[in-house]
Subunit: 167 residues, 4 copies
């Protein structure tokens, strides 16, 4: 598979000390992986947060003129991940391990209690394709809707995917 070749090449560059930053084919691979997903699982069982993410994804696939994937929410309680060192990452892995999603989107605490939140986009094996962070809610005063929206937006933009490509 092409993907495996890209990762293997990047590994070899790192081992031989020849790596100099992300490459365009790596970025295109990540973009294609997300935009050609057949099934996306959102690792939350909070209806409100799911709806926000779902709506953004519907616009995204429409704007890119791509078939809309199945978008599901994880029907498992996930608060137990807060006992791990990286709650958002481990929330994503629960979705990876209990579904056959191509892409998982998880949102949760970044690290230690007090460390604010992380939204992470993973592939079907649990690898991190992109992410974004929000300050601790004690500092930012956004409502949860805006926070989640901005996070998904930012996680996509930093890898060159723009939710609203018409603008």
């Amino acid at each position: 598979m092409n993907n495996n070749k890209i990762i293997k090449d990047a590994y070899l560059e790192s081992i031989t000390n020849k790596r100099c930053g992300d490459k365009i084919e790596e970025l295109l691979y990540i973009q294609n992986k997300i935009l050609n997903a057949k099934k996306i699982v959102v690792a939350t069982n909070n209806k409100k947060k799911f709806d926000i993410i779902n709506n953004i994804l519907i616009s995204l696939f429409k704007n890119y003129d791509k078939p809309l994937p199945t978008i599901e929410k994880l029907d498992l309680p996930t608060n137990s991940v807060d006992l791990t060192r990286f709650p958002a990452i481990n929330k994503g892995l629960i979705a990876v391990d209990t579904s056959d999603a191509d892409i998982v989107i998880a949102r949760g605490r970044l690290g230690a209690p007090g460390s604010g939140s992380m939204l992470i986009i993973m592939n079907n094996k649990g690898r991190c394709l992109s992410a974004s962070l929000s300050p601790t809610s004690l500092i930012h005063k956004k409502d949860i809707e805006d926070a989640v929206k901005d996070e998904l937006n930012e996680a996509l933009e930093r890898i060159g995917i723009n939710i609203d490509i018409s603008i």
Copy 2:
């Protein structure tokens, strides 16, 4: 120790489904942990990146009127972390495991090749206290100096520490 109590309480809230976001004592604990560090190790062996971070830290401790900790760079090659799933996190853990630092600051790739970079602040056990992300360098066109500076700034601001408190 007070810290252990804070984390234990947060765990119990999560298990019993009573957690509702970060608490002020958790944030203060993180801030104090960083601002009272005796030794900070910066997990890079790139002289230029180290100097940028070192200079910001010197201003920070001066502005907060705190004694300047020992600030050292890790004298180990770290490119091998790029073969792990979370390179920046694993770079930080190398510094945690080979030093007696109170605080470790690491910068590296966030996840898969192409996923942009992460700066992470860890405690002496390898727990994540804060972090920040940059878009893949294919997208942002900042020079490395500005990128590192903005990342450290943001990682501190999102937990309520402002580098330039006089402004």
Copy 3:
């Protein structure tokens, strides 16, 4: 998928405090996953270790009257995993991320330098299906061939797969 249902059920048992040990359908799932693999990647680029594992696997599939999967070795240097906290686990993840194997078998150091070795069997997403440990080589005096053979044997036996079922 059936598998996802098994894992989801196990998760729900754990969250609701009703879990009481491994279940027969979980064990059968793991056994079937291994015995019906189409492609196995052995995460070593040491020819000798690969040959030992390859030979055991050939006997195994023959004894169970199952079609022999493609068995490949990872053609990447992996010594860099020794800088991570769990070298054998991270060696396995390199194979997971650079191949389309159903099953990955990795062997490497268990943890800190001096902690002896681990052989681990993972699925295509990087989940651990079984493993075995050897004492540090300073203590056991087996040659490497016997050590690897015993480890693979033990990793399979502890989940109810017997290499030599005729005996």
Copy 4:
């Protein structure tokens, strides 16, 4: 610190491809770390399992003529770790992050549901010093007391610590 030097040297050997197995000073470091612990936390809130481990540790320190450390059990429910990829490891990390123990001993599931159990010995930063595995309980028919006893025994023996040195 001596320890950091040992780990740094091991890392450099691995990076430069000169590593050839565990070294005697690494083993001695691990042994000393365990036998000179001031505080050991056993990551279980099961009274019976704690008592077994506590009793073995009391004999151990007596036989080695070492001062008995404080030995405590973790007073936190830990069943939520079963939702992570490596439950025993994550159970240990909960003890590392909520206590000031020198040494943590955790026992839990190795990996996926059905994969049997692992006992792990960690240092104060969460690094793995040793471990041992048991087959899934569907296969071994030991009672829990004997299983835990054998596991702790084996985890110590494989790094050259013998519970009953008089024999």
